[in-house]
């Protein structure tokens, strides 16, 4: 099977400058990352704040241009930012992010907003568009009588449904969801997660699901990439990566998840906090917090290597194939 989306050696460095005369300070938000998304597959990306997961998501969509590396959709390279081809490509790749209220225009009814991408990309006749908006609303579980409502008249969950309906309007082959359920209550989270899974099956699209919530990602994603300070530290199938994490960071992350009814004892509690991306530690970026770090970790950054079937990890202490994974 050929990949839908292929990203190679993506890097994004922000120059943080404080005033006209200051020396710019590079922040490596995304550092030499390669990922592949197969058609119809869901890739989960987990990481803490500052890990660069949102930036990566935007780079995969070509909204945030890569400074190094390239993104190919169906083997075609990403056209230049804001060119006509780039705009046309928006119909094929859509973004859903955390705050639905910010994503929606307060002055337009939700039906108008769901139909907007159809108008922009001039898909179908006016009647067909109206019919399709109705179909989309039904697909995301919004009632017909809610078509004329404004965003503030809906609940958080309903708003996120409207945002998802709008993203699906152009029948994209890739949907990038950045923390789509983080702002929702648990019971509503489950509704939206189930809906996303159903829609994915129904529409056959691929999904990149970015979240800090490992439990949600595990239940949505086929494959999961774990990010720490701009790099992928471990990648594997979502069934195995959480059952038997290999990288010490993934281990800590899995272990830190409070599970109802389980006591905190025996959990790995990491010391310290994720470092400031602007002052990246030398060697392995995780070494200052790693309970297992050895001297090598302080000096040499480990490459992402194959450590099992469809499994990669970037750690000196995880036994794996000798060769680094070809990037």
């Amino acid at each position: 099977m050929t990949p839908l989306l292929e990203a190679k050696n993506l890097s994004r460095v922000y120059q943080v400058r404080r005033g006209y005369f200051a020396r710019p300070n590079p922040v490596r938000a995304v550092d030499d990352i390669s990922v592949v998304v197969m058609p119809g597959e869901t890739l989960g990306i987990v990481g803490e704040s500052g890990s660069g997961k949102s930036t990566l998501g935007r780079m995969l969509l070509g909204i945030d241009p890569a400074q190094a590396g390239e993104v190919k959709l169906e083997h075609k390279p990403m056209p230049p930012l804001r060119s006509a081809q780039w705009r046309a490509l928006r119909a094929k790749m859509q973004l859903v992010y955390q705050d639905p209220l910010a994503a929606l225009d307060r002055r337009l009814t939700i039906a108008a907003q769901i139909g907007e991408p159809l108008d922009i990309h001039q898909i179908g006749t006016k009647e067909q568009r109206t019919a399709q908006v109705e179909e989309l609303m039904a697909a995301v579980g919004l009632r017909r009588d809610q078509a004329g409502r404004y965003p503030h008249e809906l609940s958080g969950g309903q708003r996120q449904r409207a945002v998802i309906a709008r993203a699906l309007a152009t029948r994209p082959s890739l949907l990038v969801c950045d923390e789509p359920v983080a702002a929702l209550d648990v019971s509503i989270q489950a509704q939206v997660v189930n809906m996303l899974r159903d829609l994915q099956e129904q529409y056959g699209m691929a999904m990149v699901f970015i979240s800090h919530d490992l439990k949600v990602v595990r239940n949505v994603a086929d494959r999961v990439a774990v990010m720490y300070l701009g790099k992928i530290v471990e990648e594997g199938s979502s069934d195995t990566i959480f059952r038997s994490p290999r990288h010490p960071y993934t281990k800590a992350l899995v272990s830190s998840m409070p599970v109802p009814g389980k006591q905190l004892q025996g959990r790995i509690i990491l010391q310290g906090e994720p470092p400031n991306p602007a002052v990246r530690p030398t060697g392995c970026a995780f070494h200052p917090r790693c309970p297992l770090a050895i001297d090598l970790c302080r000096t040499n950054a480990p490459a992402l290597r194959r450590v099992g079937v469809q499994r990669t990890a970037a750690c000196h202490l995880v036994a794996g194939d000798a060769a680094a994974v070809a990037a």
Partner: protein
């Protein structure tokens, strides 16, 4: 409900209305000295409002009725000066968003010293020494150097540690932690939970842990109250609730949490949404979303009744005992052993 002199705090029929809209419908809750109680529910269920009301911290447009007793002494509607002694001194509180809960223009050290001055009469070098000790106790590295920094110079996790240090300054008998880990990253959440557990063991203070996260609650607390639409709907020990949730809402909350192990499965959401406080359904507030609701649920409000062994339930159609397969998913290891 019997009034016992041994309780630290007793809430009786605590009600809150904002601009005439009732959001809290009579909360009865006892906190014994040194115990850890969890308050669980979704946003808007009134779990935070309960304690803000108890401490008189709600804005003026809120109407609070009922009784809040601290060691048998009524503090609801008490004089401002009397409340100021309780706040931070007997009952301290920390909040969800630690970074914006600290004053951005005042140095951290000063904010901690302020609490020491109010409740322990410390000043000058003695106050500073004690503040440094507290900062060290909550795990702020190199407190002497950081005493004069501002909130924005600390990470979210460190701000929560500083909030905790400030709360401990008055040597309170009860710490109310209102969603203390919600805004923090997973590895930092674990650190803060660990810190709260440790401090409670060291100081012997009671803890009320308000959270929507059942996982976090079960690690910190012995007893849990589940709230829905301004009422407590179920109460019991962590073990009781987790092994045998009886209220359909409690059941629903557990089932909605995606599991981290076992087979991947469809999530089980609770249908519908939380009702608007100004337009509550007739009878049991949960009935429109309840899979077991019968005619009576839609007309009569079930009272919170004792079911023995410290359990309380407000439901006329308790959930059926869980099937064995599902218990395994949820049951605490302690109970399984």
């Amino acid at each position: 409900m019997s009034t016992s002199a041994s309780n630290l705090v007793e809430l009786r029929d605590l009600k809150v209305a904002f601009d005439g809209v009732q959001v809290l419908h009579g909360i009865d809750l006892d906190i014994a000295p040194g115990e850890a109680v969890g308050l669980v529910g979704e946003s808007g269920c009134g779990k935070s409002v309960t304690w803000l009301a108890a401490l008189g911290l709600l804005p003026g447009k809120a109407t609070v009725t009922g009784s809040v007793k601290l060691e048998g002494r009524e503090i609801r509607g008490a004089q401002r000066s009397q409340l100021e002694q309780v706040r931070g001194g007997r009952i301290a509180m920390i909040f969800q968003d630690p970074s914006s809960s600290l004053n951005p223009v005042l140095r951290i050290g000063r904010q901690i010293v302020e609490a020491l001055a109010i409740h322990r009469g410390l000043a000058g070098e003695a106050a500073k020494a004690e503040a440094l000790r507290l900062m060290d106790m909550v795990g702020i590295p190199d407190p002497r150097r950081r005493f004069d920094l501002y909130a924005h110079e600390f990470s979210g996790g460190q701000c929560q540690r500083l909030m905790i240090a400030m709360a401990l300054a008055g040597e309170p008998d009860l710490l109310i932690a209102d969603e203390p880990t919600t805004a923090l990253d997973a590895t930092i959440q674990a650190q803060i939970l660990d810190l709260l557990i440790r401090l409670r063991n060291e100081t012997g203070m009671a803890l009320v842990f308000i959270s929507h996260d059942l996982g976090a609650v079960s690690q910190v607390c012995e007893r849990v109250c589940v709230m829905y639409a301004g009422r407590i709907v179920e109460e019991g020990t962590v073990e009781q609730l987790f092994s045998d949730p009886q209220h359909p809402y409690t059941r629903g909350l557990f089932d909605a949490i995606p599991s981290i192990d076992g087979p991947r499965r469809r999530l089980i959401p609770i249908p519908g949404t939380v009702p608007n406080p100004s337009d509550l359904p007739q009878g049991c507030s949960f009935s429109p979303r309840c899979p077991q609701a019968t005619a009576i649920c839609k007309t009569a409000l079930p009272p919170l009744l004792s079911r023995g062994r410290g359990r309380k339930l407000a439901c006329v159609q308790p959930a059926q005992p869980v099937k064995t397969g599902m218990v395994r998913d949820r049951m605490p290891e302690a109970v399984m052993l």
